[in-house]
């Protein structure tokens, strides 16, 4: 910690063209020539792509040749290339923290494309501001911390399961946390999957069993994340194991009930008198107050719905010697330590009744695609017979309404494409042609997005099978009160005429949205979201699995609508990314820690309350009370430094004199 101004600062400035991205607007030569006039600058240079190898070599060579004490690169954004240029600075033999970036692309040439003169002036200012900071930068050493050799995956859909399996296979102990009583996610509600039409359960169930059996996976179903503390390598995650009311064989054994615990026999549910709708069947089938979602659940352990349970005790009796049912169960809290975490929180169906023009929930025979999946599925509530909810008849004319709530810029809809509805609606069209003789699917679409491998081929196939395609957005749906048939009103934009089509059933390909607890969970992990609530990746192209919170990664539809192949691919990517710090064994934290300038510290202790991480405390030193920082807890936000009335807190890399030098450099032109 050196508060003394570095009087002998020798700074090199490098201005990047970024091809024409910067040079197309900003006068590079003028910025470079100007840089040479800034105090402390001893060399200024420019290059087409500073991030390229020759560009980086320029920096390293100049450091040696001009004996530089600091480096400024005026280019894109530090959020992209600060690490690159720090490496180049280190390659020249200088401490990498003696580097400062001036953002003249993302926050200049790209946003002032038609004002080259003003943009060039702004770039000069930005360089001057950066030089002022670079002149005062000091050597810093990143703090190396060990990484806990365990990982956590939150969300047990196909994405979370794949991520957990990959981590486990890489030898990493993994906690798989799922809020519902079983893993499987949405995929277990599907009948067949496009474009191969293999049965969803048939390909999913073996994976569920693998997860359950894998020795490296600790499966925690009916469990939610309650709190997260710490940082990459050392997260302390507190979990709420919701009261399940039923003991697993393991838990029973722990309680001394030999050979006890739930075997999944279902005797309890047979006697339970309380009947509730089964959410897995979207309310179209009943379940008891003690229940499983469906026969393939994993783990095969029943769950008591304590909101519905009347505590009659019949299930306890029916369970008998196994003594699995515990109606006095309470939520339990456990805290586990993990090095890295993956969020795989999936999606929910957008409440399409909000788009009242489609009549969902008002008209019996308007259903959603997910309901269609359950109705067409052999293990579903109707044994795979698609029937009209109004009269149990088999529908012959079925309209599929695509983009229901998607690609919809009104207040009630979602602006984005939900991405898999085109494909699953083609699948649904195929299924009714195959299952119901004489049935005709009418697909109302804006355009069919069949972008994946073998998807376009699948589209042709469905066209050849006789599905009817009507290009036009559905304006509204009305019901014939007598027959309960529906009229779909749209404009056929290919023929340029209005359509009023009478059908027996309407299937809405409803938009999807982030799952209900995404918001709460992402905040616990400090992950940002995009405007629509989908979790935000660290970089859309270069780091699509990472987040801005080091050590936390994303998999599957929670990052944005994704079908199964894309979900699994991203899950494998996230698992690989999450295993890297664990296999390395240690990570480097940016050393932006607070330090106490003891001569200035009055020992008032006000800062102690500013720190959200309890990193500060008061100690006795040389007969005085002064503040002390616990570096392992400090995350470097600077909240204490922004507060200390005596200016006694030195924020490494963001120290007050450095920031004031930047302010002065801009406003006073660098002189003072």
């Amino acid at each position: 910690m050196a508060e003394v101004k570095n009087k002998e600062a020798r700074i090199g400035v490098f201005v990047c063209h970024c091809g024409t991205n910067i040079a197309g607007t900003i006068d590079i030569e003028a910025v470079k020539e100007y840089a040479k006039t800034i105090p402390n600058v001893v060399v200024a240079d420019n290059y087409a792509y500073m991030c390229s190898t020759p560009g980086q070599n320029k920096i390293a060579d100049a450091i040696k040749e001009h004996n530089l004490t600091g480096v400024v690169v005026a280019a894109c954004t530090p959020r992209l290339h600060e690490p690159t240029f720090r490496n180049a600075t280190a390659a020249g033999g200088l401490n990498p923290f003696r580097f400062e970036m001036a953002n003249i692309r993302d926050q200049n040439s790209w946003v002032h494309m038609h004002q080259p003169v003003e943009a060039t002036e702004k770039a000069k200012d930005a360089v001057r501001i950066a030089v002022a900071k670079a002149s005062l930068l000091e050597d810093l050493v990143p703090k190396s911390v060990p990484v806990e050799k365990t990982a956590m995956v939150v969300g047990g859909g196909v994405g979370g399961m794949q991520a957990a399996l990959d981590l486990a296979d890489a030898g990493i102990k993994t906690y798989l946390v799922e809020k519902s009583p079983t893993i499987g996610g949405r995929m277990s509600q599907l009948d067949k999957t496009f474009p191969t039409l293999d049965c969803s359960q048939c390909i999913l169930t073996p994976k569920m069993v693998d997860v359950y059996r894998n020795e490296n996976i600790e499966l925690l179903t009916y469990t939610e994340v309650e709190a997260v503390e710490g940082y990459i390598g050392n997260f302390d995650v507190t979990l709420r194991k919701k009261a399940r009311g039923v003991l697993t064989p393991k838990e029973a054994e722990a309680r001394g009930i030999v050979g006890g615990g739930c075997t999944g026999c279902g005797d309890c549910a047979n006697v339970c008198p309380v009947i509730k709708p089964n959410p897995f069947e979207l309310g179209m089938a009943p379940r008891k107050a003690i229940y499983i979602y469906h026969p393939q659940v994993s783990p095969l352990i029943y769950t008591v719905d304590f909101d519905a349970c009347v505590k009659c005790g019949l299930c306890v009796e029916a369970c008998g010697e196994k003594k699995a049912v515990d109606l006095e169960a309470k939520d339990e809290f456990i805290t586990v330590k993990v090095g890295t975490a993956i969020l795989a929180l999936g999606y929910d169906i957008f409440p399409i009744e909000k788009k009242f023009e489609f009549g969902y929930k008002n008209f019996d025979n308007v259903i959603t695609s997910l309901e269609f999946e359950r109705l067409i599925c052999a293990s579903g509530p109707t044994g795979g017979h698609l029937v009209r909810p109004s009269d149990g008849e088999t529908p012959k004319r079925i309209a599929f309404v695509l983009c229901a709530g998607s690609r919809d810029n009104t207040d009630t809809g979602k602006p984005y494409c939900s991405r898999f509805c085109c494909m699953y609606s083609l699948k649904h069209a195929h299924q009714i042609i195959e299952k119901i003789p004489g049935a005709v699917p009418y697909i109302f679409y804006m355009d069919i997005r069949s972008f994946g491998k073998m998807y376009e081929e699948f589209y042709y196939r469905i066209q050849n099978e006789g599905a009817k395609f009507i290009r036009g957005r559905v304006a509204n749906i009305t019901e014939d009160p007598v027959t309960k048939n529906l009229h779909v009103n749209a404009e056929d934009t290919l023929l340029g005429r209005p359509v009023d089509l009478e059908v027996d059933m309407v299937v809405l390909a409803a938009a999807i949205q982030p799952s209900a607890e995404t918001e709460k969970t992402r905040r616990l992990f400090g992950v940002s979201c995009s405007q629509d609530g989908w979790l935000l990746e660290a970089h859309p192209k270069l780091n699509p699995c990472g987040t801005t919170t080091a050590g936390v990664y994303l998999a599957g539809a929670c990052q944005g609508p994704k079908d199964i192949p894309d979900t699994v691919a991203q899950a494998e990517g996230a698992a690989s990314a999450a295993s890297i710090p664990i296999h390395k064994g240690e990570v480097e934290l940016e050393p932006y820690f607070a330090q106490c300038i003891e001569e200035k510290c009055a020992g008032c202790g006000m800062c102690v309350y500013q720190c959200p991480y309890q990193a500060l405390s008061l100690v006795e030193k040389n007969g005085r009370t002064v503040m002390q920082v616990t570096e392992a807890k400090c995350k470097g936000c600077g909240t204490c430094g922004g507060f200390c009335p005596g200016g006694a807190i030195w924020m490494q890399h963001f120290a007050s004199p450095q920031i004031i030098a930047q302010i002065d450099a801009f406003l006073l032109g660098g002189e003072q």
Partner: protein, 141 residues
């Protein structure tokens, strides 16, 4: 009042995780906004010492913007709450020294709000243009 060539001098102190990222996103989306603002990056708005802002005004800034994450989204949990409190108090100090408190502004722009960043830029520049040069600046001359 201001001469014709007067251009406002505005400094923005913005947090790394939300507003800086949002400003970068505005660039990616090629959103165009007035070029009168210069940015200083800090890790969190909690870092912003009121003295920085007073120093900026003393140096002749016509306006200061502090921009961070939305409440509840601060990368360090609550830095932005602390900052908002300080900015609020600071505004009354500004009034006392004869500055219109509209010259200091705090906004909350997330990493996904590139368009909002553009709007904030427009709006801050417009406000300061309407207020004209800082009276402290005039005095200094």
């Amino acid at each position: 009042m201001a001469d014709e060539n007067w251009k406002p001098k505005i400094i923005a102190i913005i947090c790394n995780w939300c507003s800086y990222a949002g400003a970068d996103l505005a660039g990616g989306a090629r959103i165009q906004y007035p070029p009168d603002i210069r940015a200083v990056r800090v890790m969190c708005t909690g870092r912003v010492d009121p003295l920085f802002i007073l120093k900026a005004f003393q140096d002749g800034a016509d306006g200061v913007l502090v921009s961070g994450c939305h409440f509840g989204d601060c990368h360090y949990l609550e830095g932005n709450y602390k900052a908002a409190k300080r900015m609020f108090l600071l505004k009354s100090v500004l009034k006392n020294i004869g500055l219109d408190d509209k010259r200091l502004r705090m906004t909350f722009v997330s990493a996904s709000e590139g368009a909002k960043w553009g709007m904030v830029m427009e709006d801050v520049v417009k406000t300061i243009n309407e207020l004209g040069p800082s009276p402290l600046n005039e005095l200094a001359r």
